[in-house]
Amino acid sequence: MPKLTIDDLKKLKEKSKKATALRDGETTVKVTVHMGTCGIAAGAREVMDALLEELSESGRDDIRVVNSGCMGMCSSEPNVTVEIVGKEPVVYQHMDQNKMRQVFRRHVLHGEVQSDFALARMP
């Protein structure tokens, strides 16, 4: 028996592709957590933790999570922006871990904007 068959090689490729998708994989959704000093003070780190956990569980390799600086609306932090390719970005405000999980499962995965938490559609 060979150690690795051609089918094993293909499976291995799919698995490794997911693990390295950040480098050149396709992006369909970008989730930005705004992590200025204000955002971090208001709990953006916990929001990020929840987001990454959800992302791991989803097994999707086409979703990018990035952090960025303060948007200028410090009073509504933590802010999270969800951009699905081809659609307008949506900014969420006063996020916490539970809201983040809900936004990820409903909006990021299924495209249903959670208007209750939304600050605005970005122009």
Partner: protein, 595 residues
């Protein structure tokens, strides 16, 4: 499997390691930990990214932000700003020129955007010490196809169709070479890889091995199937410790997956390979000398025929190709010979990797389609000549090659066009020289190298190169006489005709090509006792030209002997009784005011 939001692709090729990539990595790790980001951010060590002069380098994904010249003390700030707060740090971005705007994203930097990557497609993208990352980018798919779906004839046919030619410098059609070895009778055959890169200034093969070792292994597996070999050797010089380390890891991992060894991928085909460490002799890059060296004998060439395809290593049929040649093979098998033949020129297909170095703004590793002009490589990718200097010549092919002057810069890179202007494609060394390079001195440098590396087996090379070196040394010391040029020409012709192997046959090339384009410089040395480029100390006066001197005092500050007298608003003066002609003043003067 945990998911990371950011990957830092930190270049840990030899170039970046030299400038401190390991220290940068250590601080990165501790800072990421200090901010509690270790589950969000992953550091990936990659092979040479190519832009060696700007190292240590890092590319941050998914944004593709390119950071250059990172120092350990910068890292705490960078981690806090970018990785914690999401604000990319502009001061580590790339700038095209000192006063130009910064370019944050790697793919926008002209050095990268103008290249076409086939051989280097995985450089700076994968961790070369993890086979899974190679597999993620189509790795071993070519081997799978060749072993399970193709006959040896089909593999050879595909390589022939691609038009791939030997990237070590000779340019012999690879498919033809494989066909000869395939048709050669014999139970035992060998597949060898020449990684004995010896040209001064060349680092293409080292970078490929460091950044993507599996591509070379895969190319060799395919070659083995094509010719019917079951054992291979990679001949790599011991001076490449990182390349050797990554090769060893790659071979171990490939064996672990059964991609080397018996019954590869269930195809019933067996192939394994070992690394042979060379001691770094230039002549061992010559194929017959290389084989002698693997056999445990002194690395000396022998006359051909018999060619290695019939009688090579241990007198068995052998295929020997260069690192870069093998690294092309897997993709030719996956995408087909026609795809590859669609790139390049009439006679030279595909791409070529060059080690761009010398007096050029962007030093590094570049891969371009055949047919790209030298001017595009030097000016568009290389960013031109730094420090307001003028271009003088570009040296191609190392000690076996020649130089190309300004008037021939629009020559496209392909084997025939480069040969026509008096140089060779060579293995890919490309040394750019500005007006301050003395061409006689450059010819002397290469002749010194060849003379030193001559194995001594045949008289024309052993004696001829020695005599040529003597004449060149005489000229650069101001003792040149009428008739020296003619004597050089005669010796050049004799050595290239009569020497046994390529080393001797091509050794006179640097002299011939400088004589062809810069004969007046030889004449100035011999007849006027003058070095126009101001590089030969014995021909310089070490006097300050008071008309050109701007009284800046830089020469005064650089003189290690205290031989220069200078005061503010006064021109400098060199006391020749103290001066040791070390050239410090001439090299540092911004106004060329010292003769």
């Amino acid at each position: 499997m945990s998911t990371f939001r950011t990957e830092i692709l930190l270049c840990t090729g030899t170039g970046c390691k030299m400038t401190g990539a390991d220290e940068v990595k250590a601080v990165l790790e501790s800072e990421i930990k200090r901010h509690g980001l270790e589950r969000e951010i992953r550091i990936v060590e990659t092979g040479c990214n190519g832009f060696c002069a700007q190292g240590p380098l890092a590319v941050v994904q998914p944004e593709g932000i390119f950071y250059q010249k990172l120092r350990p003390e910068d890292i705490p700030f960078l981690v806090e700003e970018h990785f914690l707060k999401g604000r990319p740090v502009e001061k580590f971005f790339y700038k095209e020129q000192a006063d130009a705007e910064t370019i944050p994203v790697m793919s926008d930097i002209p050095f990268y955007s103008r290249q076409k990557l086939i051989v280097l497609k995985n450089r700076g993208v994968i961790d070369p010490e993890r086979i899974d990352e190679y597999i993620a980018r189509d790795g071993y798919e070519g081997a799978g196809k060749a072993l399970l779906e193709m006959t040896p004839e089909e593999i050879v046919g595909e390589i022939k169709k691609s038009g791939l030619r030997g990237r070590g410098g000779g340019g012999f059609p690879t498919g033809l070479k494989w066909e000869f070895a395939r048709k050669s009778e014999g139970e035992i055959k060998y597949v060898l890889c020449n990684a004995d890169e010896g040209d001064p200034g060349a680092f293409m093969d080292r970078s490929v091995l460091e950044a993507d070792p599996h591509a070379v292994l895969e190319g060799m597996i395919i070659a083995a199937k094509a010719v019917g070999a079951h054992q291979g050797y990679i001949y790599c010089r011991a001076e490449y410790p990182l390349a050797l380390k990554r090769l060893d890891i790659a071979i171990r991992q490939a064996r672990g997956y059964g991609l080397l060894g018996e019954n590869i991928l269930g195809s019933g085909f067996d192939f394994d390979l070992d690394v042979y460490r060379g001691a770094g002799a230039f002549v061992c890059g010559e194929e017959t000398a290389l084989m002698h060296s693997i056999e445990g004998k002194r690395g000396m060439p022998r006359p051909r025929p018999p060619f290695p395809a019939h009688q090579g290593l241990w007198k068995k049929p052998t295929v020997l190709n260069n690192v870069e040649t093998y690294a092309n093979v897997p993709q030719i098998i996956i995408k087909g010979g026609d795809w590859y033949a669609g790139i390049g020129t009439e006679t030279s297909k595909g791409t070529k990797v060059f080690a761009l170095t010398g007096d050029v703004y962007n030093i590094g590793l570049v891969e371009v389609p055949m047919g790209t002009t030298l001017r595009e490589i030097i000016y568009d990718i290389g960013g031109g000549i730094p420090g307001k200097r003028k271009f003088k010549a570009v040296q191609l092919g190392g000690p076996s090659g020649g130089c190309v002057p300004e008037s021939r810069l629009d020559t496209p890179v392909d084997y025939e066009s480069i040969a026509k202007v008096g140089a060779i494609m060579g293995s890919g060394g490309m040394i750019v020289m500005n007006e301050r390079t003395c061409m006689v001195d450059m010819a002397r440098f290469f002749m010194d190298f060849i003379q030193d590396e001559s194995c001594g087996k045949c008289t024309p090379c052993r004696e001829g190169t020695k005599r040529m070196l003597e004449i060149l040394e005489k000229i650069t010391r101001g003792k040149g006489e009428p008739g020296d040029i003619e004597a050089l020409e005669k010796l050049c012709a004799f050595v290239s005709d009569a020497a046994l192997c390529g080393l001797g046959k091509t050794g006179p090339n640097p002299v011939l090509s400088t004589l062809r384009y810069f004969r007046d410089e030889y004449n100035a040395h011999i007849h006027e006792k003058r070095c126009p480029a101001k590089r030969c100390p014995e021909l310089l006066k070490f006097e300050v030209n008071t008309e050109l001197c701007r009284k800046c005092g830089i020469c005064f500050k650089n003189c290690p002997m205290g031989a220069i007298r200078w005061q503010k608003k006064q021109p400098a003066y060199i006391d020749k009784s103290i001066c040791i002609k070390c050239m410090s003043c001439i090299m540092s003067c911004p106004f060329d005011a010292i003769d």
